[in-house]
Symmetry: C2
Subunit: 724 residues, 2 copies
């Protein structure tokens, strides 16, 4: 009970809230070592002072009527100084734009190339485009929809099926009582400011962030101290209160970007879409901001379904909704998105995992909080060692980190651009035991795509307390155990006299003490006659408990079972973000055969590719078209998505079209008995009999054989025609 009481009195933000909110903020906090940029700023400011001084000297020389040669000499020296200054400026500019890794310009250009291809080939479409769209809403067009469907199918195979999870599917419309219990109604907010004249709304932290970044990037004249201050603001941005944010906005004179009008003070805006359930207007509901609550409220039934045994995991894939104040960053910050969430329920006293050994030898980039705080960077660690050294809290958490690593890399995420970052103490909810985010590097920086959190018993306790239904597990003992138990008996009469209206809260807090706290109080009462005590639910939490207000004793009891609230370990996947990063990691350009243009390619693994295979006749010809039709039909019957292309376009153009959709294999019909299969990235071709081709494409698409196997088994085909 204790942790529940304290949890109410501090932030009850769920890990996932922050996870999907602050992805682009600049953690980890910068360390205070002297950077090149700092020294350049100092040099620049010194140089400017010298220039100013010399300028003054020249003016004095002139007013004192110094000789022309003397003045000329001084001007020449001044001009030299100015040249030096401008050289420092150039270095500083280079140093700023070179921050992070890679040039900002080339990242921007790369992103544009990816996004142009995605939009032109309808991987996605801004929703309701013909009505000028709605910020933060996107459609998946045909290839995007197929990619999403493949990612979700693989997620089901990799997690639900292989881990025997209980999948559920709950509605998006959620009554207020559920989201009140989870803390969303009160706490799921962003701070907003309004243009005082037009009423236009902005996210307060975005404006402050933009201001600081702009100053740092464009104003070379600011001092190294000022630069350090701005960087500090960026580092602590997520921790600023409404008052602190408001003060900074005032201090920096930040105005509405569109109108230059002044801004209101920041105030919280709840990010849930609100609605009414039923016609009466008396029943408020929200579109769920995450899918997890649907699982928690069903814990009792799911536990029963699992034969009243722990551990087990439940999973859910579904839409979630967040009414962002002003969505930015394209597909990464949207108002409606697909989440895939797992809630793994486990005995808090035993977080070992039976399949742990299957992942413990994996090695990949990890970024523990200690390394972040001491200014180091992420490094390759062996998962098993991270657990044994206490860096990762427990085996089950580590097991899921390992499974997430396997999931993402099998999808095609580049493992060099994937890291697992531990939450810093200030990022983590007080009840959480440990949290790690799978972050993927994209042109926007490191993006949080999966959160893996050990949330302890917080969620089940919150719903137990609010619904009155005990969401607990039992462990039956083989034979009754004698247990020494602390018995805490508050004396309500005395407490009532001392605390009046607050009595109930004091009683609850006393009863919620754990053994150590209770025995500490007992000792204090016995030695001093009174004890200091904190009641987190009170406005003034510190109270003094006297000896006559509570009796504390240890008793031996026979118990037949242990009743406890399970801990929950929650891996939560932002499917749209994973897909967007996958697009960036899969995209590359290569010159056309003639060398006159750059062709776009997505190197999707067959598992993810929206279409597995194209089929086309080499030339327009009825016989070849018949064969193409037959092959296409047998592929379809085998469940392999494919596309015929019987246009008369040149074979090179047809390959280019399919490369741009990431189609891994192309079958070209150049005879009625055998055909060629071409692999997208190597452009290698083999020759296969017409009757075998569907089976070969199916096997290689579904990963039963590799392209290398195909190359070995079938004769290579060297193209005679101008096919690329």
């Amino acid at each position: 009970m204790r942790s529940y009481l304290t949890s109410l009195s501090s932030s009850s933000h769920r890990h996932i809230f922050t996870k999907f909110r602050r992805s682009l903020s600049s953690h980890p906090p910068p360390t205070v070592t002297m950077s090149t940029e700092d020294s350049l700023r100092r040099a620049l400011s010194d140089k400017q002072s010298t220039i100013d001084a010399r300028g003054n000297e020249i003016r004095q020389l002139k007013s004192f009527g110094a000789s022309k040669s003397e003045i000329d000499e001084a001007v020449k020296a001044l001009n030299a100084l100015k040249l030096e200054k401008s050289s420092i400026e150039s270095q500083l500019k280079a140093s700023i734009s070179g921050e992070g890794n890679g040039s900002a310009v080339s990242k921007e250009a790369f992103r544009q190339a990816v996004v142009n291809t995605l939009e032109r080939r309808l991987f996605y479409i801004p929703s309701f485009k013909i009505y000028r769209g709605v910020a933060g809403l996107y459609d998946y067009g045909p290839p995007g929809c197929a990619v999403k469907s493949n990612v979700l199918a693989f997620w089901r195979q990799h997690f639900v099926l292989e881990e025997d999870m209980l999948e559920v599917d709950c509605p998006c419309v959620t009554p207020e009582v559920v989201l009140k219990a989870s803390g969303h109604v009160d706490k799921f907010t962003d701070l907003m400011v309004k243009d005082e004249k037009t009423g236009l709304c902005y996210r307060a932290d975005h404006l402050l962030k933009d201001h600081c970044k702009d100053k740092l990037e464009k104003d070379l004249a600011i001092s190294a101290e000022k630069a350090a201050e701005l960087k500090h603001v960026l580092a602590v941005l997520d921790d600023l209160s409404a008052e602190q944010l408001g003060a900074k906005i005032k201090e920096y004179g930040i105005v509405a970007p569109d109108t230059k009008n002044s801004l209101s003070d920041p105030y919280p805006f709840n990010l849930m879409f609100q609605t009414q359930i039923g016609p009466s207007g008396a029943s408020t509901g929200y579109m769920r901001p995450e899918t997890a609550q649907g699982i928690f409220v069903n814990f009792r039934d799911l536990y029963y379904y699992n034969g009243n045994k722990l551990p087990f995991a439940a999973a859910q894939i579904g839409q979630a909704f967040r009414n962002e104040i002003s969505p930015r960053q394209g597909l990464l910050r949207v108002r409606e998105f697909t989440l895939a969430e797992i809630e793994h329920f486990v005995d808090p006293d035993d977080k070992s995992h039976p399949k742990y050994s299957e992942v413990s030898k994996l090695e990949f980039l990890m970024f523990p909080s200690d390394e972040q705080m001491s200014g180091q960077s992420a490094k390759r660690l062996c998962l098993g060692e991270a657990v044994s050294k206490g860096i990762v809290n427990n085996q089950t958490l580590a097991y899921f980190i390992g499974r997430v690593y396997l999931f993402l890399t099998r999808l095609g995420i580049d493992e060099e651009r994937l890291r697992f970052r531990q939450h810093l103490p200030n990022e983590m909810a007080h009840y959480a035991a440990d949290c790690w985010d799978a972050e993927i590097e994209s042109s926007y920086g490191w993006i949080e795509c999966v959160g893996i959190a050990d949330r302890s018993a917080y969620d089940l306790r919150a719903h137990t307390n609010n619904s009155g239904v005990a969401l607990v597990a039992q462990e039956k003992f083989a034979e009754p155990k004698e247990v020494e138990k602390v018995v805490i008996t508050p004396v309500k009469k005395e407490l009532g006299l001392a605390f009046k209206g607050n009595q109930k809260m004091v009683v609850e807090a006393l009863e919620a003490m754990n053994e150590k706290e209770a025995m500490g109080m007992k000792a204090a009462l016995e030695s001093k006659g009174e004890a200091e005590f904190e009641v987190c639910t009170l406005d003034n939490p510190k109270v003094l408990i006297k000896k006559n207000m509570v009796s504390i004793s240890k008793e031996i009891k026979k118990e037949h079972q242990r009743v406890f609230t399970p801990s929950v370990i929650e891996p939560s996947f932002g499917i749209g973000r994973i897909i967007y990063c996958l697009y960036e990691h899969s995209f590359y350009m290569r010159p056309s055969k003639a060398g006159d243009e750059q062709l776009n390619v997505f190197r999707f693994p067959p598992l993810v590719a929206p279409i597995k295979c194209t089929v086309f006749p080499l030339v327009q010809n009825q016989k070849y078209e018949e064969v193409a039709k037959k092959i296409s039909k047998s592929l379809t019957a085998a469940g392999i998505s494919n596309k015929k292309d019987i246009t008369g376009t040149s074979i090179g153009k047809r390959y280019a079209r399919t490369d741009e959709l990431g189609v891994p294999f192309a079958v070209t019909v150049d005879s009625t008995t055998s055909v060629t299969i071409r692999e997208r990235d190597t452009k290698e071709q083999v020759r296969v009999n017409v009757d075998e081709v569907a089976a070969v494409v199916k096997d290689v698409s579904e990963g039963r054989i590799t392209w290398a196997d195909v190359l070995q088994k079938y004769p290579a085909h060297v193209s005679a025609s101008a096919d690329e």
Copy 2:
């Protein structure tokens, strides 16, 4: 333009609105032949009159002081009459409860058995149960979720993949402008009445329907005429206006069922969940009531993606939302549900379908509107004949009817309880060319589960007009064609003088005339100097057009292409309803081996079954458990959902548990070299080597071989133990 103008002035309800609204209403209208029930009501009322008359006679006899024997004789006759009356009453009761087919009581009992099993085994769970739930919201628990996922995967294979459809995935949150254009903001309503004291809300038609049904079922004393009137009300219920409904409610003295308070007049309540997009409060949005609009607004991009060619189909699977006034009928009438919709775009001048011949020979139950109106019942028809006789409007519509039939029966819907019912003229939107519903018979009656409508050009025109973006297709002519075209030139000055502020609407209506209308007006103007004309957008639509107000002529023009709005044929699937009907059609009970209890079985085909196979050791034994684990692992790797059961429960009980989940195959490990596979419905068993078993189960689960093939290939196993 004409049809758009007229469409605005009459109901623009989409077919699908009514489809999912009125499923339980009593179409077709009853024919006016004399039924048994009618004649019994007449007999009962005659008998009552006779009894009343005889009662009066007896009172008169007594007052005139007649002899005891005379009075006794009369009383005896009266009692005989009363006996006859009560016999008629019994017959009437039987006749009423026997209406429809099958006894209402046994249907109710059957439904309870199905629903109890579904709820106990977590096929579904009332959402937010621990908070007392929300009417009309349900979760899918683990087996329900698996069934849904299987149904959707098959839908994708059967429609999207096999028909090369363009799948899209659009958000649920939809801005008002889109749903204003589609007609939902103005017309997507149900009529509601409020308890005048408590404010409780009811659907007006439900109250009237309940009143009429109650009277008919429970009040045996009403006259045959009154009964006929009530039946007529039930038949026309869906067509009653707010005023007519209100009048009936007053006439029958219907009050609030919960409080007996009086009711308000009926008024329209919009069924969309409303919300605000963004923080300003200035941008109203709704949760989409269907997925189709997301496809229509993307028509231009999808047409381009398809190489600017018709026909093509787009498809979407997703959540839809309807804020029902007072949801009833469990899983059939819910506030949030999954729709799978197809929009097939086709040239209105050519609705043939290239694959029509693949379905034209299918035969199944069809219920054309003529048969409904003449009081006949549904009958088996050959689809091809229905098209050639003009019963089904066109080949493409018929093609989809055939594909839907194949889809539903392959899922396991009983084809004897599946019919395709044509909409009656009064059910169909004025712009629709033809509509058929796939109706499945369940314990609730015939339920509309799929709507297949030819909606002509309505939707694309609506969005063209509202967005200003032309959603049209082009047909380029091989060489320019000379076309005779009607040119209509309104003379604005004269029209302005005559119609003042209404001038614009008259001009638009004149310009929107089709050729026939224009030539009719030209003839009238030439012969009479004036013509009557209807402008639907005016309050008083009838106007008089004079000769000087418009010039109409025919001109020859050279055209290079034809620009037109495609027609759309829309098959729309209510996935939750299909799944519920599938549960009822798959459920049966059989006695346990000992004969002491009835066991529940779902006879799902492997395609649909939530788990394909269970694996269990015959007895608790480490060697057998190892084998079971190995088999389960190889099944999982092959993507076959399976469940181990290593509890010590009797084998019979374990079979019963899996039968109740509809698991088609059970592997029992009774040796370390070979095991048995049992088929659920026949309870037959074969013996298969441990190494082969996963491949056999995969092949038979995925339909590559049948159980009969397995029986032939592997030796039968006759169980020696008490396994059932």
